[in-house]
Amino acid sequence: MQIPIERFTLPNGLRVVLSEDHASPVVAVNLWYNVGSRNERPGRTGFAHLFEHMMFQGSQHVPDTEHIAHIERVGGAMNGSTWLDRTNYYETVPAHQLELALWLEADRMGFLLPAMTQEKLDNQRSVVQNERRQRVDNQPYGDWDERLQALVFPPEHPYHHSVIGSMEDLDAATLDDVAAFFRTYYAPNNAVLTVCGSFQPAEARRLVERYFGEFPAGPPVPSLPGTPQVPERLGGEVRVEVEAEVALPRVYLAFRIPPYGDERFYAADIAAHLLAAGKASRLYRRLVRERQVAQDVVAYAFPIVTGASMLVLWATVRPGVAVQAVDDALGEELRRLGTEGPTPLEMERARTEIEAHHVFALQQVGQRADHLSLFTTFFDEPERINTELDRYRAVRGDDVRAFAAHFLTPENRVVLTYLPRAERAEAA
């Protein structure tokens, strides 16, 4: 399976990727801006995400709530998301509405500020604060990633704070911040536009040039605040216990690892996979099925690119089991991976699964477009959509062993344990 790719760059610096496919009469438009929570300055945590919300509040030629209404009334699906490194905006629409989607995206890239008002900012601040309450503050274990980021990355690192940000910093955001952020980061030279689906490439190119071509390039994007370079490993173990409104204890382990793009990251991803993806994985088999000390296990290597990344692993403790037993069992399995390494069968299984899921996901034009924007934004190489699997195939069992021995160790980890508040009181 080969995904076709055509790319060009407008004189203003906007990188454009086209991928034609007539399987369904739909088309995806996907824009990545190379800005995320890592670009936020002190006192403005959460701002990149609040700004993303403002991008849906209309622009000079698109009244208030009409951006989303335009997409919905043609039967499109759309959204946006903010993460540590980037912010994306995307819609999948019926193929004959491609021009509408480009008109909408161009209007907010070129003409956002005339539509910004204090009332809209106050409204979206309140929406985002409710998003934080719903996902973090009112949710069992809801602040795990916020806590782990703060412990794995030092205060001067751009990943030290969470994407959602603090209530206080959200309160402090102003319209001037919106204008400054827009002028600094939302320029064509800091974005990638992907169009994927049913269209004629010459026509798509003409439309992209028509709607985006006249925007001037922005000034050079300022370097990241703080210090992205950190030692490769933590250099010690950090342990934190939290009492919270949770029903069962849960143990989170986080390790500092090389960033996405580093060849060792692929070994990390395979390690996460064979540790906890699926019921044949090591941790599921040992902790959940055989020893029955854990209710579930999850492992995940964050695909983030700024200086370092983290691999997070968690296990929820079964009722009546000592937290220490789970903590010990996790440590033992990681040690074993670092000494014995994976079996050839495990390696084969991990690669097969990663490959199959890649194909399953790419059935949707929206997913394909998002991958193309990702590879272009991070690596300036959309062709990676067709070659990324080779990077996984190149990983040897001994690479995974060496990765585990070097990075998945007690000297390079944060152990965050959640304990039920009620259980403590009853036990006392």
Partner: protein, 458 residues
């Protein structure tokens, strides 16, 4: 030479409409009488294959609540000659996505696989469905996990609100009043004999296959005959369910969760079955009310008032009438005004016809969005399953978009008046009773009763 500035003042006109056809559905019958419906689509080398069984939550007795879900889950715990660990290794070694779950209506087992690996995947699926072994230790383990999960769900406000909405919308005798996963009492009482007996009775009482993706109908038939041809299945009509509302008087059920910074709201009443003749008007009506981002509820509660990150309404249409519910989480301080707005919006849908713009937008939204979910083989397979579970004709989706586009404002108003009953709402609030009880009482919408997280009155 400077080009004239582009006129961006109005949205561009759409290009020529590309035709969309729901894939042809080939209806075959295996030699053992089991239907096999195939939608061949060859864009990607991917196949989804599902088996549907008359073994859902509706088929279990109340005292065995949770047995359908547990049985479906236990299929992966050992089958034929394979142990649980071997099954997992073989399935994952093929890169196959396997699911095995129960809904209220049915049990579903299915695989999504690359075309080249479909046959070994079907061979395993046949073992799971026909020859599960239900080893004692696995039954014990999964039962204990499900019990722990029930505890966890009660600590999670969204899941707790969902459980309590079901409990307080439906009469205690209605199956939909209980969680599909069972109650702590019913799950604690399940052991291997209950699971074995449920499987023996239900997994041979009505079954069907749906296949979507890169497989021709005759290839699918040959595969099915090889692995399921000698399977004895007796067709059996699904049991009739009695579903009643708990009450027809509007009331507030306040589940106390001290310290909550938000209140989870579930506002609703018993809705309609999938067989309702008002299906199309109801889909359009609900889209206007709370089924899209640009719906009345979301524009009001989120985009105007900033009370919430989002609000949604929906009819869960099952073989029998499922719940109609408005769902949202709002900041604790605005709990009462948010409830008042929801009730007002429901009354508004009944008061006058939707505007021509709302009607057009909702119709084109639903019609246009329809093909998006058909891009994947799973999306297509779940639409085929819908045909079988609800007894719809094979060509039902061929004119689905046209039927949505034909709904008129008068149909929407009639559907709203018939199926929204603001005077009979059960208003479930999971939040901090100390802060929200007084304001909720002051609304005067009905009696406010406070309960604990198990649903016992305080």
């Amino acid at each position: 030479m400077a080009a004239p500035a582009l006129d961006r003042s109005a949205p561009p006109a759409p290009g020529p409409l590309r035709p969309f056809h729901f894939p042809d559905v080939e209806r075959l019958t295996l030699s053992n009488g089991v239907p096999l419906w195939v939608a061949p689509v060859h864009h990607f080398p991917v196949v989804t294959w599902s088996v549907l069984l008359e073994a859902g939550g509706m088929h279990e007795p109340a005292e065995r609540a949770g047995v359908a879900a547990l049985t479906a889950e236990l299929l992966e715990s050992g089958a034929g000659e394979r142990s649980a660990a071997e099954l997992a290794e073989q399935i994952e070694g093929l890169g196959v996505e396997l699911h095995s779950t129960a809904t209220w209506d049915m049990a579903h087992g299915g695989i999504t696989a690359l075309r080249a690996r479909v046959e070994p995947a079907i061979e395993i699926l046949a073992d799971l469905v026909r020859r599960p072994t239900f080893p004692d230790d696995e039954v014990e383990r999964l039962r204990a996990e499900r019990l722990a999960e029930i505890l966890q769900r009660r600590a999670e406000p969204r899941a707790l609100a969902g459980e309590m909405a079901a409990r307080f919308l439906f009469s205690p005798g209605s199956p939909y009043a209980r969680p599909l996963a069972g109650t702590p009492e019913s799950v604690a009482a399940l052991a291997r004999p209950e699971v074995v007996s449920f499987h023996a009775r239900r997994f041979a009482a009505g079954a069907a296959f749906v296949v979507a993706g890169d497989l021709r109908p005759q290839e699918a038939r040959a595969l099915a005959e090889r692995h399921f041809g000698d399977w004895q299945v007796e067709p059996a009509p699904p049991p009739a369910l009695r579903v009643e509302p708990r009450s027809r008087v509007r009331e507030v059920v306040l589940i106390d969760r001290p310290g909550s910074v938000q209140s989870e709201l579930r506002v609703g009443h018993v809705g309609v079955a999938r067989s309702t003749p008002d299906y199309f008007p109801l889909v359009v009506m609900n889209t206007v009310l709370g089924g899209a981002f640009s719906s009345r509820l979301n524009l009001n509660l989120r985009e105007q008032k900033g009370y919430t990150y989002g609000v949604h309404s929906g009819f869960a249409m099952r073989r029998a009438p499922g719940p109609f519910v408005v769902s949202t989480a709002v900041q604790t301080e605005v709990t009462a005004p948010a409830v008042a707005e929801i009730v007002r919006e429901l009354a508004g849908m009944r008061a006058e016809p939707v505007s021509p713009a709302e009607l057009t937008d909702a119709r084109t939204y639903v019609a246009g969005a329809f093909p998006l979910r058909l891009q994947t083989t799973d999306g297509l397979a779940s639409r085929l399953s819908e045909l079988i579970v609800y007894g719809l004709p094979a060509d039902y989706f061929a004119d689905y978009r046209e039927r949505i586009l034909a709904v008129e404002a008068a149909d929407v108003l009639r559907a709203a008046r018939e199926h929204l009953r603001p005077e009979e709402l059960t208003i479930v609030v999971v939040g901090d009773s100390r802060q929200v009880r007084g304001p909720l009482q002051a609304l005067g919408l009905g009696p406010v009763t406070v309960y604990d997280k198990e649903g016992n009155p305080l």
